[in-house]
């Protein structure tokens, strides 16, 4: 029995391989995701381990506000310079106690006048503490001695296209300052950067002032152990000497901790990739289900024979499932191999993008292998179960006669589809309406899954009228008519094939509907609300938003025709102990006059240095009212108590809380990140804009634009994720195309005799090909129509649910939908090529004699 199964599998290897390809792609995604995150994780481990390799113990202070990697760069609390002397005096095992300045936000202006940007790694500003095993000055370099001298790492010099001797501008906590580059350094092993980090190194006093904002403080203090003292022992001694309030770690610990926080961000990335793998696998399931169904149908006689000569139903199921296992295994192996390749490629690209992260050796973590085989096997076997069950029900008598397979009624499948769709709709409603609490995401995803399966089950019923309607478009020629009839001939098969295409297109359409609606709603709100003709802002590329010199605000206010200027500052702080995005405005009056905010309590037109404002939503959730005393801790400085002096109505464009402008000095970025300029009546944008532009000459991260351009720029930030999602979902569509090819190829095989007959009575080759193509196009357009309909439904449901979040307008991307339908037609034509050629090549005589 096993041998028979195995041999019959070998005989159909091409067909099975085609269906296996879907699993290969899905498994590739799964294992690729794991390989990528594992390789990057180990690479970062290596970077941090290297960075701390020459440090035995490091002393730092607890950050004022702890942030995860995804929330932005955390600002370390300053360590007073006295700690250095304390350690020197009190810890006998310590040699070489060095204060280090090391903070994000040193932005070098390159030779093209633009700031060198980073897509993720920090841009560190540091103090020079001399060369060591790790850091080595390159030829022609020397250390910085004067206040206006810096050294930079080689990768930054290359990116900025600057060299030793050049005068360059650097943006720090303070606005642009000019420096002379006196040296360029690299790292052990001839490396130009450590994991893509850009480094600007000042003399110690300058670094303290520009990077920490406070003289005589350090970010951390490094301590080397004397001979015979272990790092752990030194750590404990230093810790005892300094008392509580400091974090004392060995270099190893510090490296591991930093790597761990980065890896958290990577694991999010991993989950996103796995999500797309899940979509690919869902589509693949349809494809495998269909392939096995068709194969079982074609093998009816063979399976009946097996039954007639004594095979039990269970043995038949076993034989089909065994086939599935074999396909799953082979597909998993191929998928794993492809995944390793893709993971390596992505890691390489990521390394390049991150500015030359030197990659650790490629690793295949157990999760990749387990995931690959688990997913590959389970999906294939699950998809083959239904066909296997059907195979076991083939009566042995079918071996003796041509049992006409009756057109099974669609009642059962339709009822099941209705029920499953209803379950999906209920889950979606619960999830989107916020009844599911912590399980909201799972409920919504479950709802989407059920909705897809439900609609797929309903598809046979829908397919009859829709397919015949679609087919009517092609019925003007005989081949077209035949093709149309063929596509309506086996509604289940057509339905599953189309459903596979539906999933991909529905997801793309849904995401497009949601993001377009979000864009439209935000644009509309912004256009209705913001009463500023000019906006100063820049495009954010890394974790740090661009900022500009606060002096620009005052100078801009002095330009004739300018009525009101507002600079917006922001920081992640804690308000009464809860992490909150806090903002400060250089001109509180702007809240009402530019953003049209309305007071719901107190006075929001002015703000004393000890007062703050709350938005109505935040006030409600934090249980705060006018007169409440609120403790605010910012990224720097000590916690302060403010009195709530007013509450403004929440909208999408208002901040949760607003602090007086003085507070901005303690923000992680103590410079404005956006500026709004309101013109006096009668003043012309064209007159004012160039003058503001001139003011921004030393703030190259930002530019001034009119309001519409600003809104467009803001909403266009949604375009990148949209593109990414569309590209990743295209994979699901590719798998669906494989499905169409497979279905058609199998149908052609099944109809060999019939095709031969048609050819014998005079159908030309080209006509045969046209017939097959029409069938493919009808199926794919049907799938695309379903996808667009389901996707619009899902998207509209989500948009409705997000009404309270400010997505008020449902915007349907008609153009995009049209593109999908045209694309589907093209897909159909492409998918038909191979089967059509095959059909056209059928040997007429052989086909008629074919048994």
């Amino acid at each position: 029995m096993f041998r028979a199964t195995w041999k019959s599998l070998l005989a159909r290897k091409v067909r099975l391989l085609l269906s296996g390809l879907a699993v290969v792609l899905g498994v590739m995604f799964v294992s690729g995701a794991f390989v990528l995150t594992d390789t990057l994780g180990r690479s970062f481990d290596a970077v941090f381990a290297d960075g701390y390799s020459n440090i035995d113990v490091i002393v730092s202070a607890k950050p004022k506000v702890e942030l995860s990697e995804a929330e932005g760069e955390q600002v370390a609390a300053p360590v007073p310079a006295s700690v250095v002397d304390q350690v020197k005096a009190k810890v006998p095992g310590a040699t070489d106690v060095t204060g280090l300045v090391n903070a994000d936000g040193a932005r070098l202006i390159g030779s093209n006048g633009k700031v060198v940007t980073s897509f993720g790694p920090p841009q560190l500003g540091e103090n020079w503490v001399g060369e060591n095993d790790l850091i080595q000055l390159r030829d022609g370099s020397r250390e910085p001695r004067a206040d206006d001298e810096i050294v930079i790492n080689q990768a930054l010099a290359d990116a900025a296209k600057v060299k030793v001797g050049d005068r360059v501008g650097v943006l720090t906590l303070e606005p642009k300052k000019e420096f002379t580059i006196v040296g360029v350094f690299g790292y052990s092993g001839g490396r130009d950067s450590m994991g893509g980090v850009n480094e600007v190194v000042f003399t110690t006093p300058v670094a303290q002032r520009l990077m920490l904002g406070k003289p005589d403080t350090f970010s951390s203090v490094s301590v080397q152990a004397a001979d015979g003292v272990s790092a752990e022992r030194l750590r404990d001694d230093v810790s005892a000497a300094l008392g509580a309030g400091y974090e004392v770690k060995t270099g190893e610990q510090a490296a591991a901790d930093q790597a761990a926080s980065l890896k958290e961000a990577l694991s999010f990335f991993n989950k996103v990739l796995l999500g797309f793998a899940a979509v690919a696998l869902l589509v693949g399931t349809f494809l495998i289900l269909n392939t096995f169904s068709i194969i079982v149908a074609q093998r009816t006689r063979e399976l009946a024979l097996m039954r007639a000569i004594g095979a039990s139903g269970r043995q038949i199921i076993g034989s089909v499932v065994l086939e599935a296992i074999a396909v799953g295994l082979i597909a998993s192996v191929l998928g794993l191999a492809a995944g390793i390749g893709v993971g390596a490629l992505l890691a390489y690209l990521f390394g390049k993008l991150a500015g030359g992260l030197s990659l650790a050796g490629l690793g295949v973590p157990p999760a990749a292998v387990i995931g690959a085989f688990g997913v590959g096997l389970v999906i294939t076997v699950v998809a083959a179960l239904l066909p296997a069950l059907r195979a076991s029900r083939i009566p042995p008598i079918a071996a003796m006669q041509d049992v006409a397979t009756p057109d099974r009624p669609l009642t059962k499948v339709t009822v099941a589809g209705g029920i499953v769709t209803a379950i999906g709709a209920v889950l979606l409603f619960l999830g989107l309406d916020g009844h599911a609490g912590d399980n909201t995401l799972a409920t919504i995803l479950g709802g989407v899954l059920f909705a897809f399966i439900g609609v797929a089950l309903l598809t046979p019923l829908i397919s009859r009228p829709v397919v015949s309607l679609l087919g009517a478009l092609f019925s003007w020629s005989v081949p077209g008519k035949l093709g149309r009839l063929n596509s309506g001939r086996n509604p289940r098969r057509t339905a599953i094939t189309a459903a596979a295409l539906m999933v991909g297109i529905a997801l793309v359409t849904g995401v497009t509907v949601i993001l377009d609606s979000a864009k439209g709603s935000i644009s509309k709100l912004a256009a209705d609300t913001i009463k500023a003709e000019l906006v100063i802002s820049g495009a954010q590329s890394g974790p740090r938003p661009p900022s500009f010199d606060p002096a620009v605000l005052e100078k801009a206010a002095a330009i004739p025709g300018v009525q009101l200027v507002d600079g917006e500052y922001g920081d992640m702080g804690t308000v009464n102990g809860t992490r909150t995005w806090v903002a400060a405005s250089s001109n509180v009056a702007a809240l009402q006059r530019i953003f049209g905010a309305k007071a719901t309590a107190g006075d929001i037109s002015r703000l004393g240095p000890d007062q703050m404002l709350f938005s109505s939503d935040t006030a409600k959730s934090r249980n705060v009212s006018v007169g409440s005393q609120v403790t605010v801790q910012l990224s720097r400085g000590e916690a302060r108590t403010y009195t709530v002096s007013g509450i403004y109505e929440s909208s999408e464009l208002t901040n949760p809380v607003l602090l007086p402008p003085q507070a901005a000095a303690d923000f992680a970025i103590p410079q404005p990140i956006q500026g709004f300029v309101q013109l006096a009546p009668g003043a012309k944008v064209a007159d004012v804009q160039p003058r503001v532009e001139t003011l921004l000459a030393d703030s190259p991260e930002v530019s001034v634009a009119d309001r519409d351009a600003f809104i467009k720029q803001q909403t266009s930030q949604l375009d990148t994720p949209l593109r990414m999602i569309q590209i990743l979902l295209a994979l699901a569509i590719v798998i669906a195309v494989l499905g169409i090819i497979n279905t058609l190829a199998l149908s052609v095989l099944e109809r060999t005799r019939e095709l031969g007959l048609l050819r014998a009575i005079g159908l030309r080759r080209a006509q045969t090909m046209r017939m097959i193509t029409v069938e493919a196009v009808v199926i794919s357009i049907f799938g695309a129509l379903l996808g667009v309909a389901v996707g619009t439904g899902l998207g509209a449901a989500v948009v409705r649910a997000l009404k309270d979040e400010g997505i008020t307008d449902l915007i349907l991307p008609w153009g995009q939908m049209g593109v999908f339908l045209v694309l589907a037609a093209i897909i159909g034509v492409i998918a038909a090529v191979l089967p059509a050629v095959r059909a056209a090549r059928i040997n007429v005589l052989g086909a008629i004699a074919h048994d």
Binding site: M1, R3, A4, K7, S8, L10, A11, R301, E302, L305, M306, R307, A308, I309, G310, A311, S312, G313, Q315, P395, P396, I397, A399, M400, Q401, D851
Partner: protein, 255 residues
């Protein structure tokens, strides 16, 4: 009319008052109308009749491939009627062999693998002596490694015969075994079937419409309109043909 059997010979298969109705209401068709027949052990019986007479249906019902509407069918000691799927599976494994008009070999397996398939499905080992006897009788020893596509029709049907024989079933049902063969290959297969009855005591029930083929049998029973209408013992091609002719005439009149 009821086909009789000598009391000294035990029946290998038996049909008792078997009715088979298809469809319902006005569209109801009776394929078998109260057929009672016994097929003696160690004998070669042919079932003949014009097309539509119910001869294939009778065989399907006897073999447990099709259910009967009324009456009972038994094979050896086993009552087939009322058996569930697992019972029927066991029956097919242990008691029944099939030979088909279309040969029905698995194209992916070699001749040898095809022959051993029923045993391997049942998870049994072949009796080597019997296997050798079967292979020698069908004369396929040098063809065992060939695939069906590399064999002639007659050779394929001999593989199918060997497949049926190798499990030593209680009864072999042959459905028009020579229908797809030229007369020489057909004669070879029929000779071979007759020999397996004479030399090894195999029981064979064969459905055919070819008088020459029927002449190889020990006994022929004739069906018309779902009833047994005649029987010949030790038939020759001529006697069978005569009987057929007689059967045809009243049938014409009846229409």
């Amino acid at each position: 009319m009821t086909a009789t059997v000598g009391p000294q010979v035990q029946a290998a298969a038996r049909a008792n008052e078997v009715w088979k109705l298809y469809g319902s209401g006005e569209a109801q068709v009776a394929a078998l109308r109260g057929v009672t027949a016994e097929f003696e052990r160690g004998r070669f019986t042919a079932i003949m009749g014009p097309s539509g007479s119910g001869k294939s249906t009778l065989m399907h019902c006897l073999a447990g491939l099709d259910s009967v509407t009324r009456g009972t069918v038994s094979i050896g000691e086993t009552t087939v009627t009322g058996l569930g799927d697992s019972g029927l599976t066991k029956l097919r494994r242990d008691k029944v062999g099939f030979i088909f008009q279309q040969f029905n070999l698995l194209p992916t397996l070699t001749a040898q693998e095809n022959i051993l398939l029923p045993l391997s499905i049942a998870g049994r080992k072949p009796d080597p002596a019997w296997y050798d006897t079967v292979i020698d009788t069908v004369g396929l020893r040098d063809r065992l490694k060939h695939r069906p596509a590399q064999l002639s029709g007659g050779q394929q049907q001999r593989v199918a015969c060997a497949r049926a024989l190798v499990a030593r079933p209680e009864v072999i049902f042959a459905d028009e075994p020579t229908g797809n063969l030229d007369s020489r290959s057909g004669a070879e297969v029929l000779n071979f079937l007759r020999n397996s009855v004479r030399e090894h005591g195999q029981t064979i029930v064969m459905v055919t419409h070819d008088p020459t083929a029927a002449a190889y049998a020990d006994r022929v029973i004739f069906l018309a309109d779902g009833q047994i209408v005649s029987e010949l013992v030790e038939p020759t091609a001529d006697t069978v043909l005569d009987t057929m002719k007689k059967l045809d005439t009243p049938a014409e009149v009846a229409r």
